[in-house]
Symmetry: none
Subunit: 406 residues, 2 copies
């Protein structure tokens, strides 16, 4: 039997509540420059300490050994979906990040303005990194004139600097398509083609070609951004929702649009409003009154990790720890605290290192550790496991699985 099928066959209803707290990029490494301490070790975390004394610890491989995940695969894993099976295109993630409400079948592309020489040769792939305001003005020019191509709706949204997103919404479209970005200067804009030829991908490629035909003349007097390039053109895949897969009514709380988008992709309801970490946890506690499952996303840990800012990451952990008390007071049956991947300060970026995970419930037991740290997690009863199984452990701890076999 396929494992996912087995899990589904064992589902039993319950009224237990589950909470997943993602401190983005939480995992770190202990190196000499930081006194051989990780931010989790250096931080003061009274609430996590209290949870740890009733929790199981472990580490999770986000995708596979040595693989550094982006936020997409990282979160899909935490939500219990195998990131190798459920791939979400770059364009889709970018669109979600800009807060576009995607629908299954929508085709999305990352776009950026570029500079074209008279004969159509790309001379600057980022158009001198134009200002966000210039980008917004040019996107408005395009969106005003181009609203539909045939029966396909065209939605264009500006991002930061030279970046924007093109979304195609219509019947019978699918990705992935090849990039129009030639990936180096001195070449013309490439023709977009289906990666795998189907009626739907052929139609999508035609719409893109027509979009270029209508859009380029509108930009011809724009300097320096008189062209644009498309990358990661993909459609939103149909993914089983949380309710279908786990029987859980799920809510998502995040400040950054991409994480709301990723949660919506698996059918979570996004709760709007919170602008601070404290507000996020207050909203999470509140959401547990009407939802079975809540996902809380904290961005600061990753941001400071990316900057290599150790003190900043420590502070972000301490801020989240303080706010965590609000969620703990709501007494969900299961609380998991982890990252979607590691963002070690010495690396200043996402990494492949297994992230630490804490799993608290009445049934998790105590692993004998006093604090939740990477090195304590190495000794935990959960061992090192694939992130996609965290959801299964949460379901089990929530007493939402029947016994398998007699």
């Amino acid at each position: 039997m396929k494992l996912d099928q087995l899990y589904k066959s064992l589902l039993i209803p319950n009224t237990t509540k589950l909470a997943l707290v993602v401190l983005d990029g939480l995992g770190d490494i202990a190196v000499e420059e930081n006194g051989f301490k990780t931010p989790l070790e250096a931080a003061k975390t009274p609430n996590l300490d209290a949870l740890t004394k009733h929790a199981a610890l472990g580490r999770m491989t986000p995708v596979a050994p040595g693989i550094t995940p982006g936020s997409g695969p990282g979160h899909l894993g935490l939500f219990g979906y195998d990131p190798l099976e459920f791939e979400v295109g770059r364009g889709v993630i970018e669109a979600l990040g800009l807060g576009l409400d995607l629908q299954p079948g929508d085709v999305a592309a990352r776009a950026n303005f570029c500079t074209l020489a008279p004969k159509g040769i790309v001379t600057d792939r980022r158009a001198g990194r134009i200002d966000t305001k210039v980008c917004e003005a040019q996107v408005e020019i395009l969106q005003k004139k181009i609203k539909k191509i045939g029966d396909t709706q065209v939605i264009i949204k500006a991002g930061k600097g030279h970046r924007f997103v093109v979304l195609l919404r219509g019947k019978g479209l699918e990705g992935p398509l090849t990039d129009s970005d030639p990936h180096r200067e001195g070449l013309p804009i490439a023709t977009v083609k289906p990666v795998k030829k189907t009626a739907k991908s052929t139609k999508a490629a035609k719409v893109v070609a027509e979009f270029y035909k209508q859009a380029l003349p509108l930009l011809k007097n724009c300097k320096p951004a008189n062209g644009f390039l498309l990358r990661g053109i993909a459609h939103q895949p149909k993914i089983e929702t949380f309710e279908e897969r786990y029987g859980l009514k799920a809510a998502a709380i995040a400040i950054y649009p991409m994480y709301k988008g990723l949660a919506q992709l698996v059918g979570m309801k996004k709760i709007e409003g919170p602008q601070t970490v404290k507000e996020e946890f207050a909203a999470a506690a509140d959401a547990l009154k009407s939802f079975d499952y809540v996902f809380v996303h904290v961005k600061g840990t990753d941001m400071h990790g990316e900057d290599g800012n150790f003190a900043g990451k420590v502070a972000a952990i301490e801020e989240a720890d303080a706010a965590l008390g609000l969620l703990m007071a709501a007494q969900p049956a299961v609380i998991a605290v982890t990252g979607d991947h590691s963002t070690p300060c010495p690396i200043k970026g996402h990494s492949w290192h297994p992230q630490p995970v804490l799993l608290y419930s009445d049934y998790s037991g105590w692993d004998g550790m006093d604090r939740f740290t990477e090195r304590a997690a190495n000794h935990g009863s959960l061992g090192t496991f694939d992130a996609k199984f965290l959801m299964r452990l949460m379901q089990a701890n929530a007493k939402r699985f029947d016994k398998f076999g007699a």
Copy 2:
């Protein structure tokens, strides 16, 4: 997506250097007769201790839980090839070890002279372990008279003592074939048959039969080695090279032929010359100037483990540790130290116990352990993982992988 395919799609070029140090059969078990210590625990290892303070530790399952690997599967795993997917016959390994340059499709057999009674009964499977010189003389007799069988070229090469290799090179051949070795005395030479009947394996079996027909009469006056037995008859599979698979120019340093052969199978260049462990590590340091990756093989640990010689294994570890300094001085970006399997002294043979592994790089972090031992490795951040993933972790630590997904 298939995982190997994903790894390949994420490859990025870099100039970082990688070193794999294999202390053959390194892993051991702590039992009462050895004062509940393993050789790694008993040995003085200042260089490994120094690495450990900047390293991640773990344990590796060589093939699958409970499976005791030979050197072939053990090393293929360390080289990043799933030993269940890439099977290499013993004959092929032996031929490579004798320095024969195999071509894909070549069929090779391990051979050894034996003693036959008048009616063809095997009375000594190793012909009284004749001298290498006698072996060489007899191989010359055979090779002089038998150069071709039909359109198949026959290459015969002497090894040590009673051992030699028979290589068949021609069109449309394949293995594996059953052994002609009856595996005990008192039986006649067995007829060689295809393990799986195909046109190619049938042809190979016929060539072997004809080889016996022509060769045995040539040996009839040789005493005591008037016959020979074939084992592990197999063809060289087509295996992706290190350069194709990882984008790494790789060199191999080993004293024993089999390990050079295994490395050549995956496209490593063997560096000839070193006769001592110290010379091996000096050659490794030197090879890093012109290669991206170097594999160093140390045999002593396994040899003493096979003999159940605890003190000998301790001494072999200490000898390797001292020489390791030469490689460390060359400052490769990544150093992994492990075994291809465990050869516990109390077992006097290879075993299934996960071998300890140390992974050192600027990005490995410190797991908080002071020494590299089996029991320290149990608490490491790498957890227990399949040996085939070590290469992936080395690539990641060498910053030779791009991020997966946005």
